[in-house]
Symmetry: C2
Subunit: 301 residues, 2 copies
């Protein structure tokens, strides 16, 4: 089963205290798509400008990502630049040049409209909704978001939440969305907005799933070295949805394992700039780390 | 097997945005001793003043805590007061009145000197060392600490670390002690200072154990409501050492489970002011929460 992924396709210029890497392949859809590609075929929906480097198209191809839904428009590719502090937890945006994203309207090719697994990666909730409107009857829809949309497009986001099965957001966004400091209570309130599955991302501390079958505390793989955490959250949901689309049986039965695979791909993402480390990963390396993560979290009672 | 616990025995006045509770029973040794008492008999080493309320002595008795090593000295009991912010993660000390603690020299009764499990709860490292010096050959020694000792008694602490099996400290203390931001690398550096087992506490995010048999990511029990986190870290090590002292077989085999029990007792601690919630807990309630925590963290591969 393939996964349809819509989101941003961008060029990222990333500064850390140790290095500066201009115009890397980035954007929520790029990270999510590559992460998902280790498990399932991916159909990408996005937009790039005429300046989009050929080598990045080749990189998508290398990962068997279907690009029929990738628009190439006159103008410049969305460009984001940001800078991380020493501990890699705080980052600030230096510049955001929307380019062709300013007028983006996602259009789904016919071959995409029957997709069963849909990941609405981080992008304006109005655009996420527009993708959903073009689909037949997907089996499982997950939306990601960011604080910006809570601030400037809350109405669109709340409308979208009534139509998704799963919703992914980080700790501070969860607190802000329902005005609730306690995360367990915040997740309960978010369920009431629509999503059956609420996943709160906590970065290096893992993620919490709140679902009909209870809470799951999903661990993050402990890393010796973090080079660039950009895209880790997108890799997490991408890997999760990729695995989920291939796992036989009900979602409830597979979602924990899917989050673990997502978490493992996210850990590789952090070990290189942009997609540099992720694209070098093999399925075998992912399986190895998933086994290690199990050994680090399970105990005998 | 009993556990010997030395640390502070104090009166805590705690303010949160929701309540103010003066002169609660507190201190690292009090929290650790009550937590350990659910699993094993406890021998307490500490000091209180003549103002120490009788009801707190009765509370120790109720938990079968041996008080032969508790000195009652002329003067006032150590009194700490502090205030928490809304999210309960940040607290500031309002006053610290050392009282009888100023001249405390821990003296071990004969009946304590053969104890096999020793918890050096948070107190000046010089005093922790002084307790160790009076012991025969304990089987397993764990020390806890706080940032204050890193700042004003680092030399004593480094000396102590050469003589303990396990060392417990929080994230920021681990980073400060070995000047290393990455926690996995920090734990490795701390091993070189002596301890075979390094446990880094991360509050609501659980704890990380680094040991000869690898890393264990110990979860924190997700709470719907946190009333007062004071003493949670002490409850964690107390519960851990209490359980460990009763578990047959090698430390390596039991330590993960011991951390889970510690984490569960710590979760109860947070649900009431001071020791109010902890003292109401039953072993059955602890077992129930440990089972729930397993259900929230395990997955099938």
């Amino acid at each position: 089963m393939s996964v349809l992924i819509v989101g941003s396709t961008a060029l990222d210029s990333i500064k850390t205290p140790y290095a500066h890497n201009p115009r890397l392949l980035g954007g929520s859809a790029s990270h999510a798509a590559v992460a998902a590609s280790f498990f399932a075929p991916v159909k990408l929906v996005g937009i790039v400008g005429e300046d989009f480097p050929k080598r990045y198209v080749q990189l998508y191809h290398k990962h068997n990502i279907d690009l029929e839904g990738l628009q190439i428009a006159p103008g410049k590719t969305f460009h984001w630049s940001g800078e991380y502090e020493v501990n890699m937890n705080n980052r600030r945006t230096l510049t955001t040049e929307l380019g062709v994203f300013e007028t983006f309207t996602p259009i789904l090719p016919k071959s995409y409209q029957n997709s069963q697994f849909v990941l609405l990666a981080n992008i304006a909730p109005g655009l996420q909704q527009h993708v959903l409107n073009q689909m037949r009857r997907p089996k499982f829809i997950v939306a990601d978001t960011m604080d910006l949309w809570l601030n400037i497009a809350l109405k669109d986001l709340l409308k979208l939440l009534r139509h998704v099965d799963g919703f992914v957001l980080n700790e501070s966004e969860a607190r802000q969305l329902v005005n609730e400091d306690n995360l367990v209570r915040a997740a309960k309130k978010i369920h009431k907005l629509g999503p059956k599955y609420v996943i709160v991302k906590k970065g290096e501390h893992g993620a919490i799933l709140s679902s009909p079958s209870g809470i799951f505390l999903s661990p993050a793989f402990p890393l010796h070295s973090v080079k660039d955490p950009t895209g880790a959250g997108d890799s997490f949901v991408g890997g999760m949805m990729g695995y989920l689309s291939t796992a036989p049986g009900p979602i409830d039965k597979n979602l924990r394992r899917a989050m673990i695979y997502g978490s493992v791909v996210a850990s590789f993402c952090c070990e290189g700039f942009g997609l540099n480390a992720t694209t070098r990963v093999t399925r075998a390396a992912i399986e190895k780390r998933a086994t290690e993560l199990k050994a680090m979290t399970h105990w005998k009672s």
